[in-house]
């Protein structure tokens, strides 16, 4: 595939697109910082009552909170990334324009979402994380290799996140309206990613289940790699398997969708 330059251009466009809305970004930084502070004090109270809940000490719990706030928009945990644009385009029929192009639909949207993710991380996510690191005791690694492994898990997390949302968005070809899908994405994303409570703190069988679902690849895996709570190769494998499975499912659904495409309107 010699068209990597196209997808790089698409990713750059995705990045710049989000970069144009500065007020929204500033509001996002503020919200994530405030939510982080609220969650940190809630967690500290909880960990006071139940020390080592989920195997984390207090500093790790705090780190988990700020990483969650950093990745909240980066990984579009409650939705609102490329899938939202895609569903809109399916609903209005604009998708026809995308299909005329000599480009792969899935790669196109993946590239666009990667650009968005990158902007949301550097423009919005990093600031609350630094704020947390300055004002609260956090459990951050000192070895460069851990940070490098962490960056790889972030990349894989972004791909898994996209793959989940892409699958959901394609269902708009059949359902026509994206409202229900968006809400389902939001609820499942917020609950199963562990943004409210770390997945390892979930009790019993529920805890076992949520830790093998694809959403565990989003926040839990990067957090555990960063804090040395899990083996790096295992984490990579877990994320990579979900990425491949979900992207492949997306491809299958995409070819079914475009074969039966009833492009809306005129």
């Amino acid at each position: 595939m010699g068209s990597w330059r196209l997808y790089v251009a698409v990713a750059v466009g995705g990045f710049r697109r989000y970069a144009t809305y500065r007020a929204a970004t500033a509001a996002g930084v503020f919200t994530n910082t405030v939510f982080g502070v609220i969650l940190v004090y809630t967690y500290l109270a909880l960990w006071d009552e139940k020390p080592h809940l989920g195997g984390y000490d207090q500093a790790q719990a705090v780190t988990y909170v700020w990483l969650g706030q950093c990745l909240y928009a980066t990984l579009a945990i409650q939705g609102g990334g490329a899938e939202k644009d895609l569903m809109d385009r399916i609903r209005t029929g604009e998708i026809a324009v995308d299909l005329y192009r000599p480009a792969d639909l899935q790669l196109w949207w993946l590239a666009s979402d990667m650009g968005r993710s990158l902007f949301q991380m550097v423009g919005r996510g990093v600031i609350p994380f630094l704020f947390g690191a300055v004002f609260f005791p956090m459990a951050l690694p000192t070895e460069v290799t851990t940070w490098a492994a962490f960056l790889v898990t972030l990349l894989l997390a972004a791909v898994v996140s996209f793959a989940i949302r892409y699958l959901a968005a394609l269902s708009a070809f059949w359902l026509m309206d994206g409202m229900g899908i968006s809400q389902a994405l939001m609820i499942t994303g917020v609950f199963f990613s562990g943004i409210v409570l770390p997945l390892n703190a979930f009790p019993g069988a529920l805890g076992d289940i949520v830790q093998v679902l694809p959403w565990a690849a989003l926040l839990q895996m990067p957090a555990d790699v960063l804090m040395g709570e899990t083996g790096v190769p295992g984490a990579f494998a877990f994320q990579a398997v979900w990425a491949v499975v979900l992207l492949a499912a997306g491809r299958l659904l995409q070819s079914a969708a475009t074969r039966r495409v009833v492009v809306q309107g005129g």
Binding site: S3, L6, R17
Partner: protein, 323 residues
Amino acid sequence: MDAFIELDRVEKVFDVRKKTGFLKRERRQVRAVDSISFSVARGEMVGYIGPNGAGKSTTIKMLTGILTPSGGRLRVAGIDPSRERTRLARRIGVVFGQRTTLWWDLPLIDSYKLMHRMYRIPDERYRENLDRCVELLELGDLLDVPVRQLSLGQRMRGDIAAALLHDPEVLYLDEPTIGLDVISKAKVRGFLRELNTERGTTVLLTTHDLQDIEQLCKRVMVIDHGRLMYDGPLAGLHEIGESERTLVVDLERELPPIEAPGARVVKVEGPRQWLAFPASESAAALVARVAAAYPMVDLSVREPDIEAVIAKMYAEQSEKAVS
């Protein structure tokens, strides 16, 4: 003749499911395109017209490969579009008046840079084509403006340029002048004419605006209810449809209906009167006759609209079928 686009008894049938009661659904088939055959030679500029829902867009979607025909044979540049959509996509350009291919939140030039990569246009060729489009479509001041801030006419010109940077052999235009003001329309038409004569680009144009056709296309095809009703020169269409133009006359005061040979009054409203006359006749002669006999203050001539022409044509066909 070198047939560039070829359709042979092409059909497109949609299954429509309708709820008829509790859990009961009725399946109905809709023939959006019903056994259409035509061919377009390389370098032709053809108008493809018909009322809303006639099957125009369905035809274009099949020509570009995003819809698969239910029956018949369809070839564009020797390629079966629905089988080789991506390969064909490099050789065609598509402009939808109601939709945009441009990047909404970003400056216009960003969308062009994307086209550069997407169609893998050689750098020099890209530069040349972009310069030419910028000059002819007057886009120079707009390149750094985010697309969402462009007016409809500016966006439309931007979209046309985007569809042409990769030197497509054929350009499909769906309502390219819809909603544009007179000046923008003239610019778009001038550009398309130049494109067709200078570059020999084959153009298939769907429109509601008969003036688009009059000024651009020697040949016109009319489609209605999925069937090809007419294929030939525009003048012939007027004859068949017996289409009429309307002369709107403002008189000094209220007067009885104007009597003028070759025209009939269809409406009177105070001092204003509407006269219908055959589209094939000159308006000048009629105006002279009316002006000589009546105190005229102002006048305007209205072109027949395509719906009226087609409605008339359709009525005649069904009459023939009955008798």
